[in-house]
Structures are given as structure tokens and as C-alpha cells.
Amino acid sequence: MNVEAHDRRFIVLMLAPIFLFLVFFYGYPTALNLYYSLTDLSLLGMKEGGTYVGLEHYADLLTSKDFYRTLWNTLFWLTGVSVVIRLVLGLGLALLLNSATLKRYRLTTISRLLLLVPWATPPIVAVVVWRWLLDGRQGMINKFLMNIGVIDEPVAFLANVNTVWPALITIIVWNTLPLVTLTFLAGLQSVPDELHEAAEMDGAGPIHRFFHVTLPHLMPSIVIMGLLLVFWTFNNFIYVWLATGAGPGLFTNVLATDIYIKGFVDFHLGYSSAVGMVMAGIMAIFGVIYFRLVALREFKDVL
């Protein structure tokens, strides 16, 4: 066997498993999902299957006020606000941990170790403990706020439309901020000292140095981290579902919970699949951005 044929066989063998997984766990289910979205399939009538209804579900979606609110919740609150907050806080915290003051008092290492605590906490546990902390009757935070006199009577943080999104975002931020912080910290520590020293020799103050040395150096990390957070949060089901069950009412309903509610609570699999396709479509747009912005650059030797 000549070298090229040998090579071809090796490539095929090594890629066969991943190819099969792509086909059976991504391609086939997506196609099936697309098909379901064009039928009135019900969870109760799985055996009979659904009848073809064309684009009816999509037409319903696009004219439904509820759907637009769900979309807004997903894009603005769940994803937009929480990602921006994590990037900003993550950067701030990384700078704090990397500051001369913390190093002088030897607090950097212990801070890093403490960051592991929320990070290692499984999201389910994070939701559970924060639900307890934020509980309207017996929650620690209510007791604390009442004791110091900020509020007079307990607030049901996760059941009040004014506080439910901030509370949800607090849970998400608490759980995932450490990863963001540690990633940025790794980036900060890879800024060459000479760059800072050169900027200092050029008379740049700390603020100047941050914007002209530190931030540009971190930019690739920030972009990648931001996009990863967008994917992870946009598609996330359990934070919202376990913390509020999409409530109060459907006030915090997002696309992922909508799919679950429409499909497994209302048994409307056809409609639920249509929501799923919209979700996949939005992610596909982000996918293109990701591919252009990150993958083509980061993997330029591979692609």
C-alpha cells in the first residue's frame, strides 16, 4: 500500500467515530426536529404521529406576543446582561487579583483558591442554595436585610417581577464568574513585563497602560470568553427552570424553557420543535460570527 492510501485509511479510521456521532446525535435529530416542527405532533399521540401543517407553527410564533417576550428574555436578560456583567466583573476581579496590593499581602493565591468554590459547585446546587438564600420567608438574605434595616418586610426575590431577573443573574454570575476571572487572570499574567515597562518609560499612567497595553493583549481572550458564555448561557435550561420554573407566571420564560413547557408540559411537540428551530437558527448566526472572529484565526493552521 502506498503512502497516500495509508494516510487516507488512517484519516477515515480516526474520524469515523466523531462522524457517526455528528450524524446520529446532531444531524439526524435536527432533521427530525425540523420535520416535527412542520407537523402537529403531540406527546400523547406519538404512536399515530402528527399531520403536516406546513409553516403554521412558525406563523404562530412570529405573531405571538409571548414569543417575542420569550425571545427578549433570552437575548437581553439571560444572555446579554449576564454575559456583559460577567465580562466586566471578571476583568475587574482579575485586575484586583493581579494587583500589586494583593500580591504584597500574599492574598492572590488564597483568592484563586476561593474562586474554585463557586466554579466547582454544580449549577443545580448553585440554584438550590441561592433559592434558599433568596427565599421569601426564611431566606438568609431577607433576614440580613431586615436586620440592618434596608427592608421592612421580606421580599420573595425569585417571585417578584422587579427582582427576579437580577436574582437569576446573580445566581448565574456567582456560578460562572470564577472561570471568566481565572481565564482573564491567566491572560493578564501573560502580558510581558517589558510592555508595561516600555509604556511606563513612555510616560503612560496606569489608566493609559490599561487601555493601551493590558486591554489589547486581553482582547482575544475577552472575545472568545464572551462568545463561549453566550453559547453556554443562551442554551442553558436549568438555571431558569430550576430557579423560577419560568415564573412568576411566564415572566422569566426563555427559549430553552419554552421548548420544555410547550413540548413536555403542554404536549405540543410540533410547536415546541418550531421554537427549537428558531433557537438553532439564532445560534447559527452566532456560529458564523464565532467562526469568522475566532475559529479562522485561532485555528488558521488547521482550517
Binding site: T101, P122, V125, P220, M225, A295, E298
Partner: protein
Amino acid sequence: MASVFTRNKEGGGHAIRRNPYATVALLVLTFLVWIFLVFPVVWILIGSVRTSETLFSTTSFDFTLDHYKTIFRAGFGRFIANSLFVCLIAVVISTVISVMASYVFSRKRFRGKRWLFGSVILGQMFPWIILVTPLFVLFAKIGFLNSYIGLIASYVAISIPFSVYLLVGYLESVPRELDEAATMDGCTQFQTLWTIVFPVMLPGVVATATYSFLLMWTEFLFALAFLTRTNLKTMPLGLVQFFGEQNVDWGAVMAASAVTTLPALMIFLPLQSKLAGGLTAGAVKG
């Protein structure tokens, strides 16, 4: 890869003027951050060892291990064993498949590579929730419901994209000359991968496997859909079972939470620097 943590500028050259107020402010801020980070978990631990009577009291505290006894009597040990079984098998399969694919993606040129590699890494942003219904239907047909085969395969599928993304990033930092030297030394391509490249990329493999494990360890949706028999349920289902209904047994929930968090924390402690550094290492270097 770990080299980003080797430098240590003690004291730092930049804080020549030490403003005492700024220093105090920074230290207070740091302290507040610590409380924010750690308090919830401390609260779990405290809550898990207080008697139900004093659980919500701000003044009294009675120590007890009853909650732990409760959850293990309710079969939580079984859930953990199930989770470990499913996750460990899935992690091994996922990692081996990802290493194989990443190696080819990183080292070989072939037609359709851009398309295939692109598909794999774009899988990172795939909304898995839309897989639930079709896979449920599929598994029902072929008898994979209430079977770990379906769950393990699903877990392998969802962890592959991120694993490949990380591993290809790591592989790019392993010099190609190493493979070539192995080729010159007479290794077959399989030998090159497993005896030369794999040992060299092992730190990356460990970090990748850890991410996969954590993803699976806390996965809820697929488990919920595919496992209905109690003795098969995994840990996240078991945990939710304690607080899903009207009356939440907070003590049991906290005990279960503590038991759930502990293994993850134990994996994290030794690996922390590799985990955070690797995520965007490719980007920083590039």
C-alpha cells in the same frame, strides 16, 4: 501551557506611591468578594448539619448528621454510583474519540476538513435541548430508554465539540517535528499518536476530560428525559427529587448538595491552573 503562571513580580514595580486609603479599599473589596464567593457553599455545609428545628433560626444551632442519613437512606448513594458509572465511561469514550479526531484535524490535510472541523466546533453552540424529543423518540424505538447506553452516547455526543476545540488548541502547541521524528524512527501513525503525541499532550487531555466530566456530572435534561426508573437515576435527578415538590426538606437538600459538590471540588483543586489557562491559550498565543 502552564508557563503563564510561572512569573511572579512580588510587590510589583508599579505601586511606588502607596496610597493607604486605596490599599484599605482594595483589601475591603477583596474581603467582600471572598464572602460573595464562599458564603453560599459555607451555608450549604452549615445547613446540612443543623437539625430541622433550628435550620432557620438565627440564634440557635444544633448539630446533627440526620440529613446525611436521610439522603443515603433515600438512595442518594445509588444515584452517585450511577452518576459516576455513566460519567466515567462517557468521559473515557468521549476523550478517546476526541483525541483521535483532534490529531487528524491538527496534523492532516484532506478534502472536506474545513467543513467537518467547522461542524464539530460549531457543535459547541448547539442547543442540546432540541435533541431531547428526537432522541427520545429514537431511543424509544430501539429500546435505549432506561438504559445507560443511550445516556452515555448522548453525553459523549454533547461533550465532543468542546473537547475537540480544547484538544486541537493543545495540539497546536505540540511541535509537528515530534510527529515527524517518530515517523522517521519507524512509528506507524497509530504508534505516533499513542506513544509519542498522547503522552506529550496528556496535561491537555486531563483538563479536557475534567471539563467533560463536569458537564456530564451535572447534566439534568437528558437524564430527566431518558431515565424514569428510580434505581437508574443519576445524581442531579436525585438532588432535584428532594426539593421539587411543595414542601422542601432543606436539610436533606443541603446535605445532598454538599455530597454533590465535594467530588467536583476535589477534581478542581489540583487542576485549577491548567483548566483556566487552557481555555483561551490558543488565542493568547496566536
